[in-house]
Symmetry: C2
Subunit: 188 residues, 2 copies
Amino acid sequence: MDQVLCDFEGSFLVKYREKYPEEPFIPLEERNTFYIADQYAKLEPDMQDKARDIWNAEGFFLNLPEIKGGCQALTEMSQMEDVDVFICTSPLTFYKYCLQEKFKWVEDHLGPDWISRLVITKDKTMVHGDVLIDDKPRIRGVRDPPSWKQVLFTAPYNQKVDLRGRQRLNTWTDDCWRDIIEDFKKRI
Amino acid sequence: MDQVLCDFEGSFLVKYREKYPEEPFIPLEERNTFYIADQYAKLEPDMQDKARDIWNAEGFFLNLPEIKGGCQALTEMSQMEDVDVFICTSPLTFYKYCLQEKFKWVEDHLGPDWISRLVITKDKTMVHGDVLIDDKPRIRGVRDPPSWKQVLFTAPYNQKVDLRGRQRLNTWTDDCWRDIIEDFKKRI
């Protein structure tokens, strides 16, 4: 979900600057670690906690704007022949609000039927699939290799990542995602 | 989790009888449907909603007692060589409380490390594994057949179910679970 369907980074930065207008911040184009906290920790020691307070707050997930075109693409993808779409998302360590808010987000943006397509897990390798569209540069877990091939969804912090044979998806707003899915359908 | 690790049925009945002492109820040994609501609906039309109010209430999941020996068995199972244990649980349709309470339950009863072993999904066929210990008589989903073989954890409503080649696990308090896991290890 985060940074593939939901604009975590953009929303974080807006809320962070509202709450800490005097503090240093990292512009989106300079974000270079997968976990925001890691890069904020390098600014000043306590910035990590200040950053965490933003996404751990009640309502943060619920109010995340959509990554442009993501929900429309998912809806269309789910209507493709022989394609089953699931949303696989990892919870925050501080899970008090994010679990129910991720569910509510999916319900609000995609509809209640999508709740049964939502899988919450810290280990995405345990979920079966052919393709995983995800922004994380390196996904590890108990199952190695996983059943799926990752398509790296582009985010500022993964621009320079070694693709190791993976495809990239830069945006939902052109029809590239459709070509990728059609291509996978031919291969499997 | 429910009726394998957490005593959903027993706790439901106690709370239901406390809240509706004058209403008819179904003793545990007479429970014969997987979903409680289905059987309560047959008592009187509005009993289904009354029953649902019990498990949809804040704190219901959090306070579920453990199925005897379950957490100890899981802890020991996770220490077995070449065994990775995950907890795979389906959320209620009314997910407001159960998601975070399932996480908290696991944290309280098994420890914070187990959070990363928790998978929340309505479709358990999508989760990869060799064995799924589950009380549901018939588990269906997108992946058919799933990667795992089910071991049916005994509950009142699944006593007479056709096992269709499946093994049963009646309790965590003897060492049968260990034999089942060792047996699977030999087969795979």
